[in-house]
Subunit: 145 residues, 2 copies
């Protein structure tokens, strides 16, 4: 079998992480999308609904579906922005804050497990490589020369 | 702003790659999903339709939609498996083979650009780290202790 390319590695690893998070979230009758959304909302100041999509890299339609579910589960609330009547801020409810903490612990556990396993140096190297890959893409250096 | 966690890095990097590939594919009136599917089909022996989904980490419904599009564009053909009348093999047409090569060149270009940019050692380190992350997930060592 051929050695996997970097894009395949990133894709399959991200998929494995998503499966793992969804499995863990299911113990709390939740999903990765839910946890990820809660983590993207500022627990003190709330977050404008329009900035959530770009922040999470999610399309508007699937985000609004997730937000609807979170609202039905009483994990978030929508309130008018006091500084801009036309825009809406998303706030966490008390229950939403608790669930956010559960998600946060899961994320930190996973990242600490990786750090413990690979060591500080490899962890730094990994960050650097990822940054370089993103810069290559951002500077459109791959296909335009 | 907080430092990104490993899962965020992998997710956002994979999304950036997907955007880049889709942008490049659009020059050929194609998509990343198309190129990725063509690359997953054996150009000589064909590939059983049932093994494509697991191989690509794609759900059956979105895969069958992609295959339908590829068939309409005359890039693939379905034929009965000569060794098993009940199963179907997917073959590339001549045009499909050409498009597969275009996709292959794009993937190789990207991977070579990364290799050139980060160097051999960082490239090996990156592979090792990714492998360790996948083993952590596979061995369920993250949440079960």
């Amino acid at each position: 079998m051929e050695k996997k390319t970097i894009d395949q590695l990133l894709r399959s690893t991200w998929q494995a992480i998503a499966r793992m998070y969804n499995e863990e979230a299911s113990k709390y009758e939740s999903t990765m999308a839910t946890g990820f959304t809660l983590l993207s909302i500022d627990p003190k100041k709330g977050t404008p609904s329009t900035s959530l999509g770009p922040k999470m890299g999610m399309e508007a339609t699937s985000l609004s579906r997730t937000l609807k579910t979170l609202e039905e589960k009483k994990l978030i609330e929508r309130r008018a922005n006091p500084n801009d009547g036309r825009s809406v801020l998303i706030y966490l409810t008390e229950r939403g804050k608790v669930n956010r903490d559960v998600s946060r612990v899961a994320v930190l556990k996973f990242n600490q497990a990786i750090k413990d396993d690979i060591g500080e140096e490899a962890f730094e190297n990994f960050h650097n490589t990822i940054e370089k890959i993103n810069n290559l893409i951002k500077n459109k250096k791959v296909f335009n020369f």
